[in-house]
């Protein structure tokens, strides 16, 4: 539903996917949690100059649950983290950037590398 709302341009996709991510997290379903996080975006930071704390929370939950060996998923989630943390001021964005690119290369997945670069 959240993905359909986003594709139709309905802003409530944010809340739908936040709830879906929370449910997936509670159920321990990493696959669905990651999907809910990766689809809950307009393509870049949610609001220039601001931090969307709820989106940031879901991204961090997904990263915590993702295996360190799952380089492709980590690269995509780190990309979302880099966007949403841009105005946070507490994270080292440059280090995050380096890790994101390195994980994408380790994945060996052309589509992940294209999306990440």
């Amino acid at each position: 539903v959240g993905e359909a709302q986003r594709r139709c341009g309905r802003p409530e996709y944010r809340e739908t996917l936040l709830a879906a991510a929370a449910d997936a997290d509670a159920a321990g379903d990493v696959e669905l949690l990651t999907l809910a996080v990766l689809h809950n975006t307009r393509g870049f930071v949610s609001r220039v100059g601001h931090v969307d704390l709820e989106r940031l929370d879901r991204i961090e939950r997904a990263l915590r649950r993702t295996s360190t060996a799952d380089h492709g998923r980590r690269a995509l989630l780190l990309g979302r983290l880099a966007h949403e943390s841009r105005y946070d001021g507490t994270l080292d964005i440059a280090a995050l950037f380096d890790e994101m690119v390195a994980e994408a290369r380790r994945s060996g997945d052309r589509l992940v590398l294209i999306a990440t670069l």
Binding site: R6, G9, V48, A82, R86, M100, A115, L117
Partner: protein, 323 residues
């Protein structure tokens, strides 16, 4: 696409090599229209010798802007279409696209759609010689958010281009020594370009020197974030260096920036470059400088008249009278 377009300032130097790698990966087979769109954007923004030949790339961006099916993404492509039109010299088209983008973004619940719209509108009207229509609104933003540097620079630029250089100088003077506080985000480079232009127009040498210093690593890029459009960074830096009296360095940047502007097909940036080069020749005073200054000012005047840039036209005419 993430890395190239949204690199933090500390990693901007990697943009050309990452962009080259991305172009190789995508080749002629982009996985979807969104990727095709972003790759075309990157081709415009990152100046890489090996991909100079496909330039100007603005032409290939316009149909992709229209082809994206997702309404939220259409907001992004529509405001980027507005910047593309402005880069191409179509001010009414840019204003129209910016209005459509505001409508799409508002309908899609985008919280910062109005910020993008106001920034685009200000820059388009500045080019059209109508800075006085928006300068008071921008000054109100400065008053409401006194610690926010980008609108203060935008206001200084608008003041300087509406004949209020003294007020622009005062605004800039509050920022002397503080350009390092500009957030290293997606607007970083274009905000510094705005600082360089405003300081050169207002004659604020210390802010101009500071802007030129900060822009040094990014000379090969194009300053365009969608909200604030300029063109080749080298032109803004060259203008700032000229204002500081560092004429030889300014000449090198202005010539490089002019070549990039001509290659891209950005008439405002090209006219701005010719005008700055004319000022530089006039100030340099070498033998034959007067004839060169007149020739460069003539180029600026021709472009300004054809595309409708009144303040560049007035400045070019002034140099033609003096040189």
């Amino acid at each position: 696409v993430n890395a190239v377009l949204l690199a933090p300032a500390e990693r901007f130097h990697l943009m050309p090599s990452l962009a080259r790698e991305l172009f190789d990966l995508v080749g002629d087979d982009p996985p979807d229209v969104g990727t095709a769109f972003w790759v075309a954007v990157i081709r415009v923004l990152v100046d890489i010798d090996e991909v100079r030949s496909p330039r100007p790339s603005l032409e290939r961006l316009n149909p992709l802007c229209e082809a994206v099916p997702d309404p939220l993404f259409r907001w992004v492509t529509t405001w980027l279409a507005s910047t593309v039109l402005l880069l191409e010299g179509d001010i009414p088209g840019a204003l129209d696209a910016s209005d459509r983008a505001l409508e799409l973004g508002t309908r899609g619940g985008q919280p910062d759609a109005a910020v993008f719209h106001i920034s685009q509108r200000s820059y388009a009207l500045m080019q059209a010689g109508r800075s006085d229509e928006v300068v008071d609104a921008m000054l109100a933003v400065v008053e409401g958010s006194p610690g926010w540097i980008p609108p203060r620079l935008a206001a200084a630029h608008l003041l300087a281009t509406s004949g209020r250089a003294g007020e622009a100088w005062d605004l800039l003077d509050h920022l002397a020594g503080r350009l390092g506080e500009i957030p290293p985000d997606v607007h970083f480079i274009s905000t510094l370009c705005t600082a360089a232009q405003a300081a050169s127009l207002a004659g604020h040498r210390s802010v101009a020197a500071e802007a030129a210093e900060h822009l040094t690593p990014y000379r090969a890029l194009v300053g365009n974030t969608g909200a604030t459009v300029f063109g080749p960074v080298a032109l803004a830096r060259g203008a700032a260096l000229r204002a500081c009296g560092r004429l030889d360095e300014a000449e090198a940047d202005l010539l490089a920036g002019l070549e990039s502007a001509q290659s891209l097909g950005t008439p405002y940036a090209e006219a701005f470059g010719w005008l700055e080069l004319a000022r530089l020749r006039h100030e340099h005073g070498r033998p034959g400088a007067g004839a060169l200054a007149r020739s460069h000012a003539g180029e600026a005047l021709r472009l300004a008249e054809r595309h409708g840039y009144p303040h560049l036209r007035t400045s070019a005419q002034r140099i033609l009278e003096m040189a």
